[in-house]
Subunit: 219 residues, 4 copies
DNA sequence: GCCTAACCGAGACGGTACGTCACGTCTTTTA
DNA sequence: TAAAAGACGTGACGTACCGTCTCGGTTAGGC
């Protein structure tokens, strides 16, 4: 789970006193508590984190190379679990997927701050890449799998690039939380996006029948 | 151009030495040069900016309340001009709009850093809101205007929320540059997104003919 | 008076805000107050000195390269003024010289600590050399001058190395305060040393008459 | 040899693995090697000493309460053996005593550093007292014994304070090595000091004949 | 020949100080 | 009065040691 143990891997098995796992937890939870308490990101110094967690500064630097790397683990710990897909149809799975994305942006008081943390992490391309690979990509894979199943049972056209289609579904939801982090997103947003996209925006699209019948067209 | 002149409006017309406009430009261009030279954002201190621009620190603080506010002006200066819309059809206008969005993300070596600057600015909600209102919103208004014209001439269905539709078009492009700032986006991405959305993703959509014919369906 | 301004001597006249002399004084007096208050030397961190003097750490490092160099100025400030020599005879001058040496070792509560400071400074040969050159050597020169006058008026033999003779007078007094810093030295120690040395230790030395007549032999 | 075993004297005779004497030696010799290698005193951390000696930190703290106490044993180990007195006369014995003092100050490259170690120890009065009692006092006793024998056989006046006379002999030699640790002391310094003092500095002293004849006056 | 207590090296731990750097403010002189 | 320069108090940075505390593994008795 930890990003990089920073232990010089030179010695044999475990020599010396082993690292305390409790410390790891205390630090990450300390950061979360500070964020929940409304401490602005600019006041989240390593020094203060250490003080809050009741931990020496060196103990933090022994595990993480800096604030960014620590934040990476904080975000990973805060990431909500993978949503449970109903599996009844591609359309329903997509709605659940987008809905979980919407909820992530408004989970309690700290969500705005978590958003800032994510933004802050971009200062270091390496760290951001690590976040992208371990958090964003898996979620993306899940979406593409859902789309693939949709193609298989005829809910989705065959002649489309699934990567792009995934962005088309996810983009509208994500871009709202990125551009206006504190805006409240309407509850039926996921449904509206999915249905609108499935039925097309041009006037030649399937008639309004498709808008209410949520299930697969032929079933 | 400056966001907040910070001049206490107490004195008469202009007493003493007037502020040099050259200073303003020198500072903003200094920041840009540093970014272009690959200086990481974390090393962009006010102290260094002042040194680079050959300017006193106090002179910077006289104009901007801090680094974030300065960055705001830097981003505004770096923002590409509003794209020239062809006006031949909603579809073509949308392609140009999205294409300008794509290009913004790969403008030279500094684009990745400008992206970081944008991310950094989110640490301060006030500053981000200012950026949002002066840069994001106008561009958004432009898109919605295009969509409205599309509805008027039958290119877009009548029963849709234009705000949401705008996000649906813009989202896929934006989310890619947000999640993977250094990825190269294919040149025909704008076209593909627009056409895919106009024609719908469900199997009942217009046949493949619509996919190649890029022009408006009825023209 | 200051040991090394540490200012890079590159710019022309005085540019920018000049250094505050009050700060210099506050720091040195802060150290002295801490020593007087019985703070052990090992707790005399730069951090604490700065806090005591109400001064930033950087302000200290701007003037002194480290604790040792600062202590150098503290010792120079604490050094008692050059004693007033009576000039009545070499013997009397020597007694005054040695007496001032004795008194330096017991000036208030802080003398023991000043002694520690001196000891500490030896960790850095460069700093000690500076102390030696600016404090020890002048005092030494004074002693040798007294001896030279003694040779001139017949109080001291002609065939002796004045440097060595000076050490012979100063040594016994100094060695006591070095080896046993907290011992109280008897009040008449200076007199006893001078007279004993002038009259010789061998049994063939001048009879006890020389011991009471303190003045020059021919008076 | 060890100053304070620091073993809590609660258990019976010797239970468990006994302490390795080799470790004790390794640590002390490690310190000496570091000093010989020119490592400045300020870089002589317990951590580095342990690393050099290939020993755990706790092993050092098991034996010594801290760096100062360890240095005490280092100095004791470095102390040259008590000089062999010829016994032919007080004058000769004193010369040998002072000569051994002179030699101590120039024993290889490390003598300057040993001097620093001694100085450093003064930071802790307790440690310095221990050094004084176990190293300085015995040597002092030896000097006073020599003087007493000199009084007995007529080489030294009867009416003098032996403690003070001892300081008078030792002081000039010691003060030179204290004030200028790196100065080279001339080879005949011991002889010159002793003879000068025995014959007195006043012009009424024995004529120059006594200056060359080094032996006791009456033999 | 075990048992077991104390040793050993290694290194993590909570602290504290180091010396540097940047913050935003404040004096200076110069224009 | 604004400008460049740079000192100022503050406080975080990342590192190094402090002295203590586990770890796994040794090394001697005493049984």
């Amino acid at each position: 789970m930890s990003s990089a143990p920073r232990r010089p891997v030179h010695a044999g098995p475990t020599r010396g006193r082993p690292r305390s796992e409790a410390v790891e937890r205390a630090v990450i939870e300390g950061v979360m508590r500070l964020l929940e308490d409304g401490v602005p990101l600019s006041e989240l110094s390593v020094e203060r984190i250490a003080r809050t967690a009741g931990v020496g500064k060196a103990t933090i630097y022994r595990r993480w190379s800096g604030k960014e790397e620590l934040f990476l683990d904080v975000l990973r710990a805060a990431e909500p679990p993978e949503p449970q897909l109903p599996g009844t149809s591609m359309r329903d799975d997509l709605v659940v997927l987008l809905e979980s994305l919407r909820r992530r942006g408004l989970a309690g008081r700290n969500s705005a701050m978590l958003h800032s943390v994510r933004a802050q992490m971009k200062s270091s391309p390496k760290i951001w890449a690590a976040y992208h690979d371990t958090v964003v990509v898996p979620r993306r894979r899940l979406g593409i799998e859902v789309l693939r199943r949709g193609q298989a049972n005829g809910e989705l056209r065959d002649d489309v690039d699934l990567e792009l289609v995934n962005d088309v579904f996810v983009g509208p939801m994500l871009v709202r939380s990125v551009l206006r982090p504190d805006a409240e997103l309407p509850e039926d947003l996921a449904e509206r996006i999915v249905d609108m996209l499935l039925q097309g925006l041009g006037p030649a699209g399937a008639p309004s029948a498709a808008a209410d019948s949520a299930g697969p067209p032929a079933a």
